[in-house]
């Protein structure tokens, strides 16, 4: 048990820099999830903490002690490798016994060892496999064995590298639910790496989003979901990913600022603070999560952004229907439970104001609209604008809703 703190952690492989000065504090017993796409440096972060990467700069502190120059076997950390790294010549039982026999994880009598191994294998549902060799296991079983080799021992920090990635979907969901309940997990500081945003949101006390060796945002699951720091974070969370529309800031005659999508179909009022970072006429990105859009039946509410368009594609995915809607030339993805929607239908979509996100336009977002066509921008991370929630700060919701409706209608 112990806290973990990284200061200016950098790592490189040959000429490639894998980590650019990571700063992170993980409290004692906290479950911290690092989320990022392939090659973002997630595994390198874990290996740096474990002392397995040679060219590391910066400081790693475990339980307050500086780990610079400390050998991996003296750090008292346990790691589950993505490649499992089970000893091929040892059975599951012997693999799990390995950390207990090393003498650096406390002293365990043979009886205590087998008792501890029995506990862990039972928890992980691999008790019946204890006599098997890794080559006789399925990938999911191997992965659970690798996880078991971590859980079986006490450690200051657990480092878990995508420990659920090779399980089939149902087992993964079940394991995800179980993982946090485990006593070992609740008591031990854990650094958990994944590329699955659902795992990150479900498991993490806090989540850090890693991109190209830099931490883009660190926050609670609610924070990274509701207030993504930039478009990269916004697009990491959610499936289908967030709609992003290239838009332009403009002054509104009634006073105030509005962001209007370049094709004119969407317009929202922006908080005044936006003007601090983007000049009128500057480019911004509007973001709306597909699940925040609702298909409207009945009267248009005044307190919501309203989009009107034609359904170009309706994919039925069981209970949900994924819609592609053409809103005045903008392709909008929406997810609804309304099974009646058909392709070619004209629909009205609404979204609460506080669910509309506003980002600074990246260098690319002001360019041709082709980027906007397939879901908005590249991964050019536009910073989140306004600091606070956008909807709360909107000065002219009603008029803008009207303007959006009007311009949307005008394009038809």
């Amino acid at each position: 048990m112990g806290s973990l703190s990284l200061r200016g952690l950098s790592a490189r492989y040959a000429k490639t820099v894998a980590l650019h000065g990571l700063d992170l504090d993980v409290a004692d017993g906290e479950f911290f999830v690092i989320l990022g796409p392939s090659g973002a440096g997630k595994t390198t972060t874990l290996k740096s903490v474990a002392g397995l990467v040679d060219a590391v700069e910066g400081e790693v502190r475990i339980a307050g002690a500086d780990m610079t120059g400390v050998e991996p076997y003296e750090r008292n950390v346990a790691m589950a490798f993505e490649s499992y790294a089970l000893y091929p010549q040892k059975t599951v039982e012997q693999n799990l016994a390995s950390p207990l026999r090393s003498g650096r994880t406390g002293s365990w009598s043979p009886a205590e060892q087998s008792e501890r191994i029995r506990e862990v294998t039972t928890t992980l549902g691999i008790e019946h496999l204890r006599g098997r060799f890794p080559r006789e296991l399925s990938n999911g079983q191997r992965q659970r064995t690798a996880l078991g080799r971590v859980l079986v021992r006490p450690a200051d920090v657990y480092l878990l590298d995508e420990p659920l990635s090779h399980l089939d979907a149902k087992l993964r969901a079940a394991m995800r639910a179980e993982l946090k309940q485990l006593g070992e997990m609740t008591h031990t500081t854990t650094l958990y790496v994944t590329h699955d945003y659902q795992e990150a949101l479900a498991l993490g006390d806090r989540v850090g989003v890693l991109r190209e060796g830099r931490l883009v945002q660190v926050g609670t699951p609610a924070e990274v979901w509701h207030e993504p720091a930039d478009t990269f974070v916004a697009r990491m969370f959610g499936q289908p990913e967030m709609n992003l529309f290239a838009a332009e800031l403009a002054a509104v005659p009634a006073g105030g600022t509005a962001a209007r999508s370049r094709r004119g179909g969407i317009a929202v009022g922006a908080p005044h603070s936006v003007r601090d970072s983007v000049d009128p006429g500057g480019s911004v990105l509007l973001g709306i999560r597909p699940r925040d859009l609702a298909v409207l039946t009945g009267e248009e509410p005044a307190d919501r952004l309203v989009l009107r368009g034609r359904v170009t594609l309706a994919e039925r995915l069981g209970r949900l229907v994924e819609l592609s809607v053409d809103v005045a030339g903008e392709a909008v993805i929406a997810v609804t439970e309304d099974q009646r929607v058909r392709e070619g239908d004209r629909v009205t979509l609404t979204v609460p104001w506080d669910r509309v996100h506003l980002f600074a336009g990246g260098p690319d977002s002001g360019g041709p609209d082709s980027g906007g066509q397939d879901g908005g921008g590249q991964d050019r991370g536009g910073r989140r604008l306004g600091g606070q929630r956008l909807g709360g700060g909107v000065p002219l919701p009603a008029t803008n809703a009207g303007a959006a409706a009007a311009s949307g209608g005008g394009a038809r």
């Binding site: 290996k47 474990a50 002392g51 397995l52 050998e71 991996p72 076997y73 750090r75 950390v77 346990a78 790691m79 490798f81 490649s83 790294a85 089970l86 000893y87 091929p88 010549q89 390995s98 950390p99 090393s102 003498g103 650096r104 994880t105 080799r149 021992r153």
Partner: protein, 316 residues
């Protein structure tokens, strides 16, 4: 004679195969070859003949060696294939009679060779396995150059270094000693073992040892506990190859040993005589005896060898 026997030998299999096809297909197509069925063409027959000729050419010396070893002294140069076979040559080679003819005791030479080669391989393993591990795991500035230098010991002609070695050995008192031979055979065995085992270690995922480190084992224990057991097939293959190369080495013992510690390779050639009569049949018998130990070693570790030679050669 080749083209008479080979197509004839294949002929019976062909109709049988076609029968199987037609039975499965339910209709007979006697004249037309099935898809994928082998057909004779001048090119394929010619190709087979070339292979057959090469086969005979490359194996004939061995056949001739065996025939020669079975001939009596009077028949050794006067007969080809018709003679009265005898095993007396093998006895002569190993007895004091052979020692009298060549001034080298062949049995002792066998023992010397075994000592030299086993010793050389053991020394190479003790030094070479950790070296190969280090070379396979850690890249540093100039690591490629170091490996190339080690390899260059292997392909540099032995004659290039033999004269200075002779002088050095004489001055150090290593001439005609087992220690001296074991030492010089490192030039043969060490590069082989380091290079073969390096690729084995490279094929092992480094995560295995990293996992052992995090389990609380030191680097040395991680190596002994995890990496070493996994390359055992490679060690067997590399050790055998090194043993054979050391066994077959001729130039080093020819120059660096006298009559006291002559190994078999040199002892065999003594039967060809030095000015006196050349005992071809005795030479052949000695050569066959000399070839047996590596053969026995190879057979005894065959189980490891087959896996070992293929594992590591191909990257997965």
């Amino acid at each position: 004679m080749g083209d008479g026997s080979r197509p004839g030998g294949r002929q019976p299999a062909k109709p049988a195969g076609r029968e199987g096809h037609s039975r499965r297909g339910g209709k007979s197509s006697a004249g037309e070859p099935q898809p994928g069925q082998r057909r004779f063409s001048p090119a394929s027959v010619g190709g087979d003949l070339v292979l057959l000729a090469w086969f005979v050419f490359s194996l004939f010396p061995l056949v001739w060696l065996v025939l020669l070893s079975l001939k009596s002294e009077s028949e050794q140069i006067s007969t080809y294939f018709e003679f009265t076979p005898t095993l007396r040559n093998f006895g002569t080679v190993l007895s004091s009679e052979g020692a009298r003819l060549t001034s080298v005791n062949f049995s002792e030479a066998l023992l010397t060779s075994v000592l030299n080669c086993v010793g050389a391989v053991l020394v190479s393993l003790v030094i070479g396995v950790p070296a190969a591990y280090a070379a396979g795991r850690w890249q540093y500035r100039g690591s490629g150059d170091v490996m190339f230098t080690i390899l260059s010991f292997r392909f540099a002609p032995e004659l290039m270094v033999i004269v200075p070695l002779f002088v050095i050995y004489n001055q150090l008192g290593l001439f005609d000693t087992n220690v001296g031979m074991i030492w010089v055979l490192q030039l043969v065995t060490m590069p082989l073992i380091v290079w073969i085992l390096r690729s084995y270690f490279q094929d092992l995922p480094p995560e295995l040892e990293q996992a052992a480190l995090l389990d609380g084992y030191t680097r040395k224990r991680a190596f002994l506990m995890v990496a070493l057991p996994l390359v055992r097939p490679g060690i067997a293959a590399a050790a055998l190859l090194a043993f054979i190369f050391a066994w077959n080495n001729y130039v080093f013992p020819l120059i660096l040993t006298g009559s006291g510690h002559t190994p078999v390779t040199v002892a065999v050639t003594r039967f060809l005589g030095g000015g006196g009569q050349a005992f071809y049949s005795l030479t052949a018998a000695a050569a066959i005896i000399a070839a047996l130990p590596p053969l026995l070693v190879a057979l005894s570790i065959q189980r490891y060898l087959v896996r070992g030679l293929s594992f590591g050669a191909v990257k997965a």
